[in-house]
Symmetry: C2
Subunit: 151 residues, 2 copies
DNA sequence: CCGTATCCATTCCGATACTG
DNA sequence: CAGTATCGGAATGGATACGG
């Protein structure tokens, strides 16, 4: 009766995205992958996630084309999970989510991990959205076109 | 025994963010709010979500400070749910998620709703992350500093 | 029209034991 | 170390009935 509705066929790209990464673990796995984590055990330790859940989430992300399972580089019989181009394309999502958290979910004295620009050694600056005129883009400057033909 | 672990105290801003918006509905509610939806019934119709779940999610987002419940503008006895500044700050997250979905989850001929720039009437251009030198920022240009003092 | 309350099925998730 | 199998409790989500 209460079968969960899939969002995979929605005409809204946000909904489709959430269908894949809109759970408690997917984006944290992707975050770790950006941070160089590749092995099952590394994910497990970093996330403190149950192993069966991790197995399931890795499998789903591989099926979704976000991760790819490749033979381990150390010659062991196991696998490593690396980001595909599709997975790497999630980088802006992780960064904006991170910046929202930094700016809105921490008290002034609280310690938090930060994303650092290698070149400058400084925290990655705020993401700004640019409109067609090159100016910053705010919610009020946009609207959703309900259904658009292919691009 | 199997109580879900809260991510609210994590030192990672991504984890804290996911603790609030990392479920199936929260970001879709926020997306609708950006699109002008304010009323319970509008959310319910747009999302095709069960009413008890919607009640729960709206309450949680209000508690989290993402939405604010205000008296209905039409004088009825009910409420409207509007984005707080904290909620509006999620705009880049929605946009990047949308763009990831558009670029990676649709076939070439498939119709999808699009975010349009009011000024130009054209789709909002790709978000680019800028490093300290003003150049585009890629995953390889960054690393996570494990624990940073307050900013 | 706006919610709340209840019931039930499904899903999520953690703990643990087990295998190679 | 890298998973798989199983279990039970908690959370999620849908249908629906009910009250303001």
């Amino acid at each position: 009766m209460a079968a969960r509705k899939s969002l995979a066929d929605s005409s809204c790209p946000v909904a489709r995205a959430i269908d894949i990464v809109g759970d408690r673990w997917a984006l944290l796995i992707v975050r770790d992958a950006f941070d160089g984590v590749r092995r099952f055990g590394q994910f497990q330790e970093s996330l403190d996630i149950a192993r069966n859940i991790l197995t399931d989430r890795l499998r789903r992300l591989v099926e979704a084309g976000v991760l790819e399972a490749v033979a381990a580089s150390d010659g062991s019989a196991y696998q490593e999970y690396i980001l595909t181009p599709k997975g790497e394309a999630l980088f802006p999502v992780i960064v904006t989510l991170r910046q929202w958290g930094e700016g809105n979910l921490f008290g002034r004295g609280e310690k938090r991990s930060q994303l650092i620009d290698r070149a400058s050694g400084r925290p990655v600056p705020k993401v700004t959205l640019r409109g067609a005129d090159g100016g910053a883009l705010a919610p009020a400057d946009t609207f959703v076109k309900k259904v658009a033909a292919r691009v």
